[in-house]
Amino acid sequence: MSTKLAKIEKRTAYLLILPSVLLVFSIILFPIFSNIWISFKNVELKDLRIPEPRAKKLVKSINDNPNQIKVIYKLRNSSLTQEITNVKFKDKYPDNIEPISLNNKCQFKSNLLKCELGNWPKKYRENLEIVFQNTNNQEISKKEIKSYKPKLSGKSQNILLTYEFTLNNFKKVIKDKAFIDLLSTTFYYTFFGTIGAIVFGILAAQMVNQKFFGRTFIRSVLLFPYVAPVVALAYTWELLLDPTSGTLNNLLINYQIIDGPINLLGQKYVTLNILGFDFKLRLALTTVIIFEIWRYFPLAFLFILARLQAVPKELYEAADVDGANPIQKFLNITLPQILAVISILFMIRFIWNFNKFEDIFLLTGGASGTRTLPINVYQQGFSIGDIGMGSAVSIVIVVFLLIFMFIYFKLLGKRADEN
C-alpha cells in the first residue's frame, strides 16, 4: 500500500515539475550546450538566414494579341553563400487559360503549373517565361493571374547542423593581442565594482542603522538605483557627464575646480600627478565602475542592514563599559558579525559583475578602454557578425563562471559545516 502511495507521489511530483524543467532545459541549458557546438563552427550572422528559393511574378500582355499573355517568373536563390537543392515550383492559374508551350521541367495539369527546377547554386538567378493563351473567348484577367502567388520549396543545408568543425575561433580568441587586455579590464571592472559596492553598502547600512527622522524614507530612496530600469539610468548619467552640456562638467567649471570639460566616458586615460609621481588612471573605466557601484551598492546595503539589525545590542553596551572607541567597536564587533554576509555578497556580486553587459554597453558601448568579456561577446557576434567567435568568447565566460561557482559553493559548504 505504502509503496503504491509513494509511486503515486513520485508520479505527481514528476508531473508537477515537468513543465518547468522542460522550459528551463530548452531555453537555458540547451543554449549553453549549443554554445559549445557553435563555438567550433565557422558561422557568421548572415549564414543564419535559411536560404529560400524566391520567385517574383510579372504578367505582361503581348502586343496585338489580346488572347495571349506572357508570365515571367524572376527566380533567385536568396542566399549568397549556400546552395539550394531540389527546388520545386507550384502556381495556380484561372480556368480559362493554358500554356502554349512548356519546357520539359514543367507540367500543367488542372490549372496547376508544377515545375522541378533542380539545384540552384548560391546567388543563382533565372527567368522563367511562359506564354499562355485563353481557351474560351473571355478576356484574360491580369489581375486574377497576379493574385495567385507561386509556392516554392527546396532543401538546403543548415550550416548549424553540419558536422564541419574548426578550432579557429578559439585560436583567434586566445591569440588576439587584446585578449590579455580584455581579461584585465574585465577583472579590474569586476573587482573594483564589487569592492566599491560593498564598502558603500556598509557605510550606508551603518548610517541607516541609527534612529533618525525620515529613516524609512531614506531606506526606500537608497534602493531606487537598484530597482529602476538600467536604460533610463544609463542615459541620464550619460547626459549628466556629457563634456559640453553635461551638468557635472558645468558645475565643476562654474566653481573653478577644473579649467576645461573632462570627457568622463570618452577618454581612455587621464594622468594624475600625486606627490610627484604620474599615475595613469583609466578614466572611462573608472566612470563605468562608479556607475556600477552607484547602481548596486543598494543590494549590499539591504543585506548588511538586515544583518546589522540582528546584532545583539548587549555587545555594544559591553564594549561601552570596556571603554572602546567607535572605530574599535566597528572593527571588533560589527565587522566580525557581518563578515559572513560580506563574503557571500562578494562572491555573488563578483559573479554578476563579471557578466555585466547592459551597464557598459549603454554607457560607452565598450569604447575607450571599457571592453569587457560580455561586451566582446556582443561585438564579435553582432557588430562584426561572427557568431562562432561570439560563442567562443561565451565559452571563455562560462569556464570562468564555473570556476567562480566552484569556489562559491565550496565556501557555502564550508559555512554550512561551521553552523
Partner: protein, 397 residues
C-alpha cells in the same frame, strides 16, 4: 579639557558645516542662480569661531535660544559675503545652520573631556553628512531626468545648470515632451507591449513555478536534491552566455520580433528564482494542514489551490512583483530579439531613440521617466513585498 580635543572639535565641526552649506549652494546653483564661489576661507574660519562660541556658552544659556542666535549669526555673515542672492537662499542657509547647531548644542567642556570624544564627534557628523550626501547623489540623477523632460531644447542649451521648473508656462507647455513622446514616438504602444510582456511573464512564471515549487518542497521523488541545487546553479548563469545560441535558434524558428519569443525567454530566466523563493516558503507551511486536506479527500490539485495558495499569498506577491520588475527592466534580450519598432518594449524603444537620429534630450528623458515611474511607484507602494523579493532573489542582478 585637552586643547587638542577642542581644536579637532572646532575643525571637524566647521568642516562639516561647510560641506552641508556646499551641498545647499550646489542645489541653489542648479536652480539657475549664478553662484560661482564656495567662499571656503571665510566660511570655514567663521564656522570655527561659531563652534568655539557654542562651546564657550555651553549650557549657560537656554539651548534653543543659543541655537537660534548662532544660526542667525551665520546666515547674516553669509548674506554679507555673497551678493545679490534671493531671500530663499539665505533662508536655506539659516535652516541648515539651525539643523547643524541643534545637533551640537549639547556639546560643552564636559563632553570634550570624555574619552574618544573627537571620534564620536566625527562619526556623528559622518552620519549626518553621509545621509545628506547619499540622498543627494542617489536622487539627483532622478531629479535631473524629471526636470530635463520638462524643458525645451533652447533652455537646456542656454544654461545647462538651470534645473528649475517653470510652472508659470502652464501644464500643456510643461508636459509637451510627454505629448510628443506618446504621439510622435509611439510610446503608448511600447508601454502596452511592456505591460503585456511583464504581466504575461508574471502569470506564466507563476503557473509553472507554483506546482514545481510545491513538488520540490513537499513531495519525495528521485533526483529531488539534484533538482534543488541545480535550480540555484542555473540561476547563476547570465543572459550574455545564452544570447548567441538563443539568437540563432530564434532566428531560424522565426521567433524573433515576436512577443511570444520574449515571453518564453523571460519566463525561463525567471523560473529558477521563482521556484527557489516559493519552495522556501512552502516548506514553512505546517504539514498538518495538508494532511487534514488529504483526510478530507482532496487531491494534489485541491491541496495546492485550497490550502497552499491562500496561505502563501504574501510570498506569491513578492515573487510576482520581483518577476514583474525583472521583466519590465529587462534590456539585453529585447535588444537582441526585437528590431522592428512595432514589437519594441519601452527599454528597447528608449535605446532606439538614443542610438537613432539626433533625438532631443528632453524627449529621451521623458521616455526615461515613462519607463522609470511605474516601477518606482510599484516599489514605493509595495516596498515590503519587493524588498523580500529582492533579498531572496538577490543572487541575480
Amino acid at each position: 579639557m585637552k586643547i587638542k580635543n577642542v581644536l579637532t572639535y572646532c575643525f571637524i565641526s566647521s568642516l562639516f558645516l561647510f560641506s552641508l552649506i556646499c551641498i545647499w549652494k550646489i542645489l541653489v546653483t542648479l536652480q539657475g542662480i549664478e553662484l560661482s564661489n564656495f567662499n571656503f576661507n571665510k566660511l570655514f574660519i567663521f564656522g570655527i569661531i561659531l563652534c568655539a562660541i557654542n562651546l564657550l556658552i555651553g549650557k549657560k544659556l537656554n539651548l534653543n535660544i543659543k541655537v537660534i542666535i548662532l544660526a542667525l549669526l551665520l546666515s547674516i555673515f553669509d548674506y554679507f559675503i555673497s551678493i545679490n542672492l534671493p531671500i530663499w537662499y539665505s533662508l536655506g542657509i539659516f535652516l541648515i545652520a539651525l539643523f547643524f547647531f541643534n545637533n551640537i548644542k549639547n556639546y560643552d567642556k564636559n563632553f570634550l573631556s570624555k574619552n574618544h570624544s573627537s571620534q564620536k564627534l566625527f562619526f556623528n557628523y559622518l552620519t549626518l553628512f553621509g545621509i545628506t550626501l547619499f540622498s543627494f547623489v542617489i536622487l539627483f540623477p532622478f531629479y535631473m531626468m524629471l526636470v530635463t523632460s520638462f524643458k525645451t531644447q533652447a533652455l537646456l542649451l542656454l544654461n545647462p545648470l538651470d534645473f528649475s521648473i517653470n510652472f508659470a508656462q502652464g501644464l500643456p507647455e510643461l508636459f509637451k515632451s510627454y505629448f510628443i513622446v506618446f504621439k510622435d514616438y509611439n510610446f503608448g504602444r511600447y508601454m502596452l507591449t511592456s505591460t503585456i510582456v511583464s504581466l504575461g511573464t508574471v502569470i506564466i512564471t507563476l503557473i509553472f513555478a507554483i506546482p514545481a515549487a510545491y513538488a520540490v518542497a513537499r513531495l519525495n521523488f528521485f533526483g529531488k536534491n539534484f533538482l534543488s541545487t541545480s535550480i540555484l546553479i542555473i540561476y547563476l548563469f547570465p543572459a550574455i552566455v545564452l544570447v548567441i545560441p538563443l539568437y540563432t535558434i530564434f532566428s531560424q524558428l522565426g521567433l524573433r520580433n515576436s512577443i511570444e519569443g520574449l515571453l518564453i525567454v523571460y519566463t525561463a530566466t525567471t523560473l529558477p528564482v521563482a521556484i527557489y523563493m516559493l519552495q522556501g516558503y512552502f516548506k514553512s507551511i505546517p504539514k498538518e494542514l495538508e494532511e487534514a486536506g488529504i483526510i478530507d479527500g482532496q487531491n494534489w490539485l485541491g491541496i495546492i489551490f485550497k490550502i497552499i495558495l491562500p496561505l502563501s499569498l504574501p510570498a506569491i506577491s513578492s515573487v510576482a512583483l520581483y518577476v514583474f520588475m525583472i521583466a519590465w527592466n529587462e534590456f539585453l534580450f529585447s535588444l537582441m530579439f526585437l528590431d522592428r519598432p512595432n514589437t519594441f518594449t519601452l527599454s528597447r524603444a528608449i535605446q532606439f531613440l538614443n542610438v537613432g537620429a539626433e533625438t532631443p534630450r528632453q524627449y529621451l528623458m521623458a521616455g526615461s521617466v515613462v519607463v522609470t515611474l511605474p516601477i518606482l511607484i510599484i516599489f514605493v507602494y509595495f516596498e515590503k513585498y519587493l524588498v523580500s523579493g529582492l533579498t531572496a532573489g538577490s543572487v541575480k542582478g
